[in-house]
Amino acid sequence: MAIQQKTNKEIFLNGIFNENPIFRLALSMCPAVAITTNLLNGILMGVSVIFVQICANSTIALLKDYIHPRVRLPIYSLTLATYVTVIDLILSAYFPVAYGALGLFIKLIVVFTFITMRLDVFARKNTVFPTFLDAMGMGLGFLWGMMVIGGVRELLGSGTLLGYDILGFKPMLFFVLPASGFFIIGFMMAIFNYTERIYKEKQSKRRIPA
């Protein structure tokens, strides 16, 4: 039982750090760069992704035995498109306020590479519960990535956070432009690689005296 729990935790944390979709796998860069001009956009996009990712992952994990491996990709696209359309319609009909904020983001989700990638790499080979955890981890990893990029860009580009004036001036207008997203992502990747190296060095040092 203890081992089972540990693996579940690992699955969950995998998406947040080890295989963070933005900083480690470098997938779905287009939305990550285009949308994150401010923190709020980043959060909304991340929340929408978590939701669709969990729904689609669980569905594929449930139906995996019935999907012919040769046509799995079209079926993944169909699943995603169905979820996205249904969520879009329901939000626009019953939650017009939320739709005003989220509507644009939801439509973009169909083309997210890393959601399809998770369906193929993980959901196809696992049962529902680990898949759910994986989707949750991946979604949260994406969310915090978007929040970091969005936060830095909003703070440095327009001097605000969530629309509230923090700095009172605009340090670097450049950070509002899409190209700056790449700089921040590159910088974060460097931090990830550096921490990984330090961590590994520490581990190997510990091993030698033992």
Partner: protein, 304 residues
């Protein structure tokens, strides 16, 4: 062979299931969705006229809707305007038939109840009946005339333009001299953080107060908005009494003849909306002048 059939069947079943799910959701959501759109449309109509929490709607504000149709009879093409007539609201609609050069052709009464006129199906069939059997009748667009104290106070026109990805729907308000009162974005699918900024006050409010002469030749310039103008444009952030009446007038005058400052990183969307507004205003003014001349010459008792 067996494998092929399996694949085909599998894909078919998936597609049909997906289609069914989407179809059922669509059936259940289409009515509330239309209702929301309608509410949104009406809210935007008053917003664009400048009525909001701080400025209430006048009690005698009346809105009249005019519909434009394209009528094809044999080889001839006409424009048909369905216009409200009579002094009271409940008097009904007439059809004015105009040829493509703007000359008056025919004037007919429409057999339709005023409360049914917003329903596109009922309206089109009434016009078809009035024109006669052999013609094809296609709905083109519509606009509203707002009247306060029995005087025309504004024209409201919903319009569309091609944006970065799909169409941008917007609503324009013009005063009786065709100067822009305001612009509201009704629907769009531009990218969040970039093109979607056309919804923001600092962009769309730049059109407020632009004269008809200026709008005819307006262009987009790639320059940041001056700080004092930016503060003036973001009306929702104003504190109580931030600007006095004179100051508002002075600011509007100062930037009256400036062009539109593009959104950083979204020049295409900025240009698309600006050109859309330019074209919509030009066409509308031409049409409304033709219509007004005809109404005056033929002495038709229109309501607006």
């Amino acid at each position: 062979m067996k494998e092929m059939i399996k694949i085909v069947l599998g894909l078919c079943v998936t597609c049909i299931t997906a289609a069914c799910i989407m179809g059922v959701t669509f059936i259940f959501t289409s009515d509330p969705k239309k209702k929301n759109e309608h509410i949104n449309f009406e809210k935007n109509m008053f917003n664009v006229l400048g009525y909001n929490e701080n400025r209430s709607i006048p009690a005698d504000l009346k809105l009249y809707s005019i519909f434009r149709y394209i009528i094809i009879q044999g080889d001839n093409q006409y424009l048909g305007y369905a216009v409200p007539v009579g002094e009271k609201d409940s008097s009904g609609y007439d059809l004015l038939q105009v040829d493509t050069n703007g000359n008056f052709v025919d004037h007919k009464h429409l057999d339709i109840k005023p409360e049914k006129v917003m329903e596109e199906g009922d309206r089109t069939s009434a016009i078809k009946a009035a024109v006669g059997g052999a013609a094809t009748v296609t709905y083109a667009d519509m606009f509203f005339v707002a009247k306060v104290e029995n005087k025309r106070s504004a024209f409201l026109l919903p319009a569309e333009t091609i944006g970065f990805k799909t169409t941008i729907g917007f609503m324009l308000a013009l005063d009786p001299l065709y100067n822009v009162i305001g612009v509201e974005i009704l629907e769009h699918e531009e990218d969040p953080g970039l093109g979607a900024e056309i919804e923001q006050e600092y962009f769309k409010n730049q059109f407020q107060g632009k004269s008809f002469e200026k709008v005819k030749s307006i262009v987009v310039i790639k320059q940041p908005i001056p700080d004092d103008y930016l503060k003036f444009l973001e009306k929702k952030k104003w504190r109580q009494g931030e600007y006095s009446e004179q100051e508002i007038k002075a600011m509007q005058q100062k930037y009256q003849d400036s062009d539109i400052n593009a959104i950083t990183g979204a020049t295409i969307s900025s240009v698309a909306l600006t050109n859309g507004i330019k074209v919509a205003v030009k066409k509308f003014v031409y049409r409304v002048k033709v219509l007004d001349t005809i109404i005056m010459n033929k002495q038709i008792a229109v309501a607006f």
